[in-house]
Every structure is written in structure tokens, then in C-alpha cells.
Symmetry: C2
Subunit: 122 residues, 2 copies
């Protein structure tokens, strides 16, 4: 019975639900962006401040992808200086709910540990 497992894919490659989800929010920044927007950090420069280490290029890119995937909307105000506000869609909110357990896991397991990769030197 282990044999069956080794010869066949558990899921047809593109139909693993987890892979499909990671296709949409996979990556280092998207869960953080979705969470921050839900907290009212809804403008480009605010997000930039809350995400030490992200580059503008990357932030713009991730926001475009989240918008394309209909997790958030982008509202442009014709003002000077320009203002753009992001907000979560229904889908985005449901995804946020699925992301929160990761947040809780962080609270439970990592509060006392030192970070490695994203360490910011001040």
C-alpha cells in the first residue's frame, strides 16, 4: 500500500488545494500585507513603513498580484499628492481568516525565540 503512494501523485499536480492557495498568498510578504490592510494599514507608504525590509518594487508587485487575484481592491483618489487606498475584498477577508492561525502559531511558539532571516539591524 505504500507502493501505491510511491507510484502515483497524491493529487494531480495542479489540484492540490494547498498548492493552489500558496499560488495566491505564497511568498514572504503577502500574508503580512493582507493582515496589515485588515488592521487599517491601507496605503502604500503606510505599508512600506510597517514592512521593514521590503523594497518599493516588491511591495508594488505584491499589491498588483493581490489585486489581480481579487483579494484586495485599489482605490485611487485624484489628489495631490496622490492617494491610493487598499482594502480587503470578501475573498481577502476569508483568506485572512485562514492566515490567522499562522499568526497564533507565532504567538505560541516563537515569542521567545530570536528571528533569523528577517532580522532588522537598528
Amino acid at each position: 500500500m505504500k507502493k501505491e503512494l510511491s507510484n502515483a501523485l497524491i493529487y494531480p499536480p495542479v489540484l492540490c488545494p494547498l498548492a493552489l492557495t500558496l499560488d495566491v498568498i505564497g511568498g514572504k510578504w503577502k500574508p503580512l500585507i493582507v493582515h496589515l490592510v485588515s488592521q487599517g494599514v491601507n496605503r502604500f507608504s503606510l505599508l512600506e513603513k510597517q514592512l521593514p525590509g521590503i523594497s518599493r518594487k516588491m511591495l508594488a508587485n505584491q499589491l498588483r498580484e493581490l489585486e489581480r487575484d481579487e483579494l484586495l481592491t485599489r482605490e485611487i483618489f485624484a489628489e495631490i499628492p496622490p492617494r491610493v487606498e487598499y482594502s480587503l475584498t470578501e475573498t481577502g477577508l476569508s483568506l485572512l481568516a485562514a492566515v490567522m492561525p499562522l499568526y497564533e502559531w507565532g504567538v505560541q511558539h516563537l515569542a521567545h525565540k530570536q528571528p533569523r532571516h528577517t532580522a532588522i539591524q537598528l
Copy 2:
């Protein structure tokens, strides 16, 4: 009150629990690896088969990081051909529990959509 938000970081940069979690399982492959190992796909070559698109270098790298972060253990059997078995630690299991909502989200929201990034042409 919005003013306060815009001037100060919601969290001291390295102490956002979500960022700390993503530090450990962020990335395209780690959640999939953890899930697969929990399903009994516990050897290098089996994982390779179940993860179309991953390179051996990347798989080895991600497994090392997961091992270093004590999410899984690596057991080497002195056989020919060599055999190595991975299994989840307690911590790994708790993280799997936090990842499963993403799997469920995929079931709910993406079953009918076409994948983009990880599309495998057959």
C-alpha cells in the same frame, strides 16, 4: 488616532508573530512539504515525485531548513541504496494544524479556478 498608526510600527519589526511564523514556513514549498510528510510522503525521492517543479537542490535546502528549525527529523538508514526518512516533530505537527486552514481555503475558493504560477504543462 489614525495619526498614531501612521507614525509608529504596529509591532516592533521583528516581533510580529505572523512575520516570525513566515520566517519558518514562508516560501513556496515548506507548507507543502510539511503537509506531504504528514501524509506519509516521508522520503526524498517520494517528495520529489509529489512536488512537480521543485529542483533537487531546492528540496534538499528546504528540508535542511525545516530540520534546523526542528519541524521535522531526519533519520538515515545505512542501506544501499541509501534511505532517509523524514517525520514531523511535535512542533511540526502543531504548525501543520496552523497550515491546514489554508488547505481548506483552497478547497473552498479555488477548486474551480485555473492555476497560474505553478501550472505544469503535461
